[in-house]
């Protein structure tokens, strides 16, 4: 998972606002971050491992001049942890300097890379971004906008890109719109961001989502829209954005995330009638759904588990006794609200199931008489190929075990998954067209 941002306006403070925008998108990636700024002539880039607030000091921002900028936050992916993979990429090409930030995942990366290598391309990283830039630079087009489209037409998979080329800021989304991207108006210019929360943070006005298969080109005269995706296939936004990734205050495809999560909780309560004393969220991702569940069911909501806000770097403890305590560092049960209670635990999803099992055990140790796990999504049965770092199918609990086996593995008294139809109901009209391949195996490509 990653987050992208872009700004084009009339003041030479693009870096400052990109900093704030990336801050707002930090939940989409904490491993590395970066930005490229330009005044239309000179380009400056800076990227490093770490959080936005650590990488971009006041001094660094002062060294990033210009009225146009793009930025990126990147999440840790196994085995690729290096500043060389940090984004945006800034390259010199036949279209001049081009900077590009990418959220998504190409499913034809290997074949594209192979084909490009056959004609002499070299790749310094295993980032999809380098592939896109090579395609762009080889496009047989008169201008860079057409080159962007030519390149994107060769891509299969998900991509939401912010690009600086020449004196233009470009935003583009894959024809299925799997990863989100939206457009805002700010001061005398425009802003692009993975989520609307980044617009809010800088005080930009939400204009609309960039559409699937649409390219937005922003310049001194405002923005122009180009469709390149042929027949629009309808939006296939990743439905997991609503369940887990996006920030609650963001609005994606016209639906506020907080409200969707609340509706999911309510739907779950409608689907399963459980006799219990208290509804407890697995913090933080289960909180909003739990609130919706509690309201619908009438069962009191309580913070039975408090998350430690100071959990930083952790390391392997030398003994099993110490290792067993690790979950207690992160989650602190409030015993009085749990003791002798029948607890409904609300979690956003069950992937491997290890965290859920630990959480259930924690609740029992705190005195819970019963623990019923209600999951705010359908069983997670297929890996994602569109940008989410999921384990392979054999590690997905729900892909390999029956419900009673899952319940026994988790150690809960009962376990209840939201139905796919219920998820669609909660998300609202059009939800059935969204990408829910992780729950259905029906990949949109």
């Amino acid at each position: 998972m990653c987050g992208v941002f872009g700004i084009y306006f009339g003041r030479s403070e693009a870096a400052r606002y990109t900093y704030l925008g990336l801050y707002a998108l930090q939940h989409r990636g904490q491993e590395s971050c970066g930005m490229v700024t330009t005044d239309g002539v000179n380009f400056t880039a800076y990227k490093d491992m770490g959080l936005v607030s650590d990488v971009f000091t006041d001094e660094k921002l002062a060294q990033l001049p210009g009225n146009v900028a793009i930025g990126h936050v990147r999440s840790a992916l196994a085995g690729k942890s290096s500043v060389l993979n940090a984004q945006p990429f800034l390259v010199q090409s036949r279209f001049g300097m081009v900077a590009l930030a990418h959220n998504g995942n190409l499913v034809n990366a290997t074949s594209l890379s192979q084909k490009l290598q056959e004609t002499g391309a070299v790749f310094q990283t295993n980032a999809d971004t380098e592939i896109i830039l090579n395609l762009l630079a080889r496009a047989d087009t008169a201008n860079v906008e057409d080159a962007v489209i030519a390149a994107c037409r060769e891509l299969k998979g998900s991509f939401a890109l912010t690009i600086i080329a020449g004196d233009k800021l470009i935003g583009i989304r894959d024809p299925l719109g799997i990863r989100p991207l939206c457009l805002g108006r700010f001061s005398d210019g425009y802003v692009l961001a993975s989520e609307s929360c980044a617009l809010n943070t800088i005080g930009a006005e939400f204009v609309r989502d960039v559409l699937p298969g649409e390219m937005i080109v922003i310049g001194p005269q405002g923005f122009n829209s180009y469709y390149y995706g042929g027949q629009p296939l309808g939006e296939s936004l990743c439905i997991f954005e609503y369940i887990y990734f996006a920030r609650p205050d963001s609005t994606l495809a016209g639906r506020n995330v907080y409200q969707v999560r609340s509706a999911i909780g309510a739907q779950l309560a409608r689907e399963y009638s459980i006799d219990a004393d208290v509804v407890v969220p697995a913090p933080d991702s289960g909180t909003t759904a739990a609130l919706g569940f509690a309201k619908e069911s009438g069962i009191p909501f309580e913070f039975g588990l408090i998350k430690n806000r100071y959990v930083g770097r952790t390391f392997i403890q030398p003994t099993q006794a110490l290792r067993n305590l690790s979950v207690k560092i992160k989650l602190n049960p409030v015993n009085p609200v749990l003791a002798d209670k029948r607890v409904i635990l609300i979690d956003d999803s069950v992937v491997r199931g290890t965290t859920s099992a630990k959480t259930v055990r924690l609740l029992r140790e705190a005195g819970a008489k019963e623990v019923h796990l209600c999951v705010a999504s359908p069983p997670y049965i297929k890996p994602c190929f569109y940008g989410i770092d999921t384990p392979s199918e054999e590690q997905l609990l729900a892909a390999n075990y029956s419900l009673p086996e899952i319940q026994s593995h988790i150690g809960a008294d009962s376990i209840h998954f939201l139905s796919l139809a219920g998820l669609h109901t909660a998300v609202g009209s059009g939800a059935e067209k969204m990408c829910g391949a992780c729950f259905t195996g029906q990949y949109p490509l």
Copy 2:
């Protein structure tokens, strides 16, 4: 504010468990931390600026051998930010090596320091801890336990200490018991901690609070209790621990903090009947009270403000426009749950009032039709001299302005403080004896 910890048991892993204990107490201080360990013969100390998880790497912990340890987390106090002030202090004295960690504040520090200097003492820091150690070392007693008592009898103010002297672990609390300290049983030994949450984290069993005026001496044969405070004056635990400082899952003086906060919210709802659409907490400190308020009032609870979990180091932005955005980095309004709503905002307290004013403005910008601020504590009118870093009286909003003036300063449609009696009711029997000097000006000393 600070947090102290101590452990005495039969395995040479005292550092590992102290690490976990300090982790659980991290909310009591994030500036510096440290620990001293011993096997009864050799003493090892390590302290540094920063969070527990940054200061104590696996390698550092491996270099802190022994079955006895004390630890400390310290919060930032203006102008004293240096590793020299980090605790615990470890000194060589006529009683051998003595290590001491202190939570609290001495009101007679200046006169004690003066008196000690007159007879030749030198002070390397302005920490109270050094004063206590000098008094201890000068005590005309046969053993170190008596020296601890002799030193503590000269102290005025609040103190909760963990001490290693010789082969003993000592915990001691001031005669009024202003700062908390509790005792737990762990494996074949005992644990001391500022809050019970640290016992839970390592899996220790809560035994009881160390009493006001009590010294607990832990050795190979278990623990002994000594009263040194003369006629016990009754517990004057800082009532602000319940309102703000302590972690919700801790139990202080027999009352669970989460439950007290929930009761405070309910009491506030009983005291003020406000016609509104939604109850929104100022995260994180107002959350539990807001939940209690919502339940009692029947007005729906919603997370109208989401706290950004990645806020790190911040710096002064160069323009006013950018500075105005700083609150938006930290707090993100969920517009759909606020727009056109009459909002009850629940905050734990109003000290200077600057944060409250910013939060109210944020809610209005998000579309709230009305904002009613309900404060989960009485007006804060007097500085604390017992360990809380408060501004001087002229900076305390409620000490200098009338209720209408405060309301106007905050920009709320109405503002409501919990009554003192209401606070006492929510905390429960004995609350009226607790220290609430910040609300009443009646200092227990």
Copy 3:
């Protein structure tokens, strides 16, 4: 200036020996360093800003497995200071993984880059290395060795490369041999290095210099040599390597650097007969020549200036008085050997002249009655385009002023430059074919 290294042998400790080799070449570049290792299948890379001993910790080396490695040290060049420019570069290409480290400078970099961009190449850095790799990847050859040669045939300028391609280690030098590269035998394999001192450090046996226009390919069966440079043009090794760059214990083109410097000093003494009391080197670069001068002239050699070995990062002092002291931090005059003496100061070269002027003033302040500056090289009148970071012609003192003007600028009683013929004599037979363009303006290309 940079330094390159490569090793191919039968033990999986290539990283350890590359570390030692880079250590020995550290004088050729202190800004960044890096290495790529491989076992023939997997490639591992690590590079960062900083000295070899800071970048490569024990832990890092343990994560660089393999029996083949190349390494690089890079010196700071204005405006290009970033880890992205650190070498070696490791790319995926149609020849598989290729790693490349470069010492030198291409004079046709701009036109090559332009041409490559026109056919779709993108450049992430302004390093020549990326150009070479793109040429290599586009070469229409059956194997990677031929591709290396095809790429090098397009290059104009200086280059000494170490390359890993597939299971081969390759070393190659430009047809003029401007930058040095030598071959050594080590254990059951071979080593390549910019200077022979790196062979000595790891205990490798010097075999011979890689020849101008020669490619050495090292594999499991030993090494093969290929000439690609057409008619060898004769060695045009940079003569400044002897004067300044190379380490005294290195042997380049059959001449030991220390001995050449000593001969230069003697030659200088033969060229100019100066009546003086003491010969003092400008440390460290003038030391060996000063020793040669003293022996030839019979005037006593003394360390009149001691270099402070702890000079680290420096910053601009706020007042002129403080700024004037900066040279005194670095160079400490030994007054008793200077007071009332007629001093011959030996420096390696005069580029801008600022350091020489400061050094002369320092000697005078220490009591020197006369200061005669003898320069161990001819007047430096032209910029270098082959890998040395020199100022533009208008900043070169000797390019713009007459001898009396230079003398007056430096503040010396007399100033004497080594003659070009004298330099050739000291370096020995073949010296007149070496590149001395900085002294003559006769660039070999």
Copy 4:
């Protein structure tokens, strides 16, 4: 070993000049450094682990206001490596704020510490400095100057102190004057420093050495001198300062260090007539003596061993083969000046003998036909108790073995130590009264 500095003048830039002074004294200690500055009212302190140029950034210096300052550089001593031991110490006492920096070593530290503890003192470090400050604070005197004297009268051992007390800068030396301290005039004030090189660096004028048993008190009216040492015993300056510690450009007790070292070399040449081809110094400490030796003997001087200037942090290599290379990282033999030569190696001293043995082996591997080690000091047979971190007697090579055994251990063809009388001759009149206990066992106390 440590270095101390102090400045009192009329401008509020004391920190800047102390920085330069400490830079010049960096060779006396590289582990930690610090300074205390004052305007006579407020005191500011900063100290940390590391080199002067790393610890004191521009920003830090800007936060150290005042016209009076003392500073300290400290060398690493086994097992005491912590910022808590860094100097100067700044304490509050009955004489107000007192800052103190100490070079030397107390032989009665344990008994003083014991005595002070018995009357209630506590010690946070094992630095002698804390003992001196406690004595000072307990002195029954009317003013702080008398307290300094009273404290110093109780000390046995070596000490050279710079102190700020109230509005005075104080320098004081032990009655034997074992560690050096000198006084300079600078601008409208005065400077104190361990070595005169620090005066030179800032452009101060050397006034004179502080005398053994003398206290210099510097205030707005200039300086006053007080003798407290009773009958002056004559100067017992550590003779090893000339051999190894002091910087060559310093002048101690009227003798320039460079000239003494040169005379030592000449004396060594007079004592031993060796048939050899070349004189080679063990860099850097043997260089000046080697030059003197070469001049006196007529045997050519050459830099046969070049020291690598970039040697930083080193770590234990995993194999013996790699460990054997460690000396080659640091010292690089210039083979052509060594091959087939009879070499005289000049080293400053032989303590454990390990380094000498490695150096001799290095010369042989480089082709030296014979290696004759000439040592610029007598056999080192006793540990130092006055401030030099020497190994215990059983680790001193010359204390435990005969000359043939030493020669065999070192692996040299012959080994020659300077005679004690010869050392005295080279140092000059008064040398026989200096402390040479490490060579004689005759400790001055």
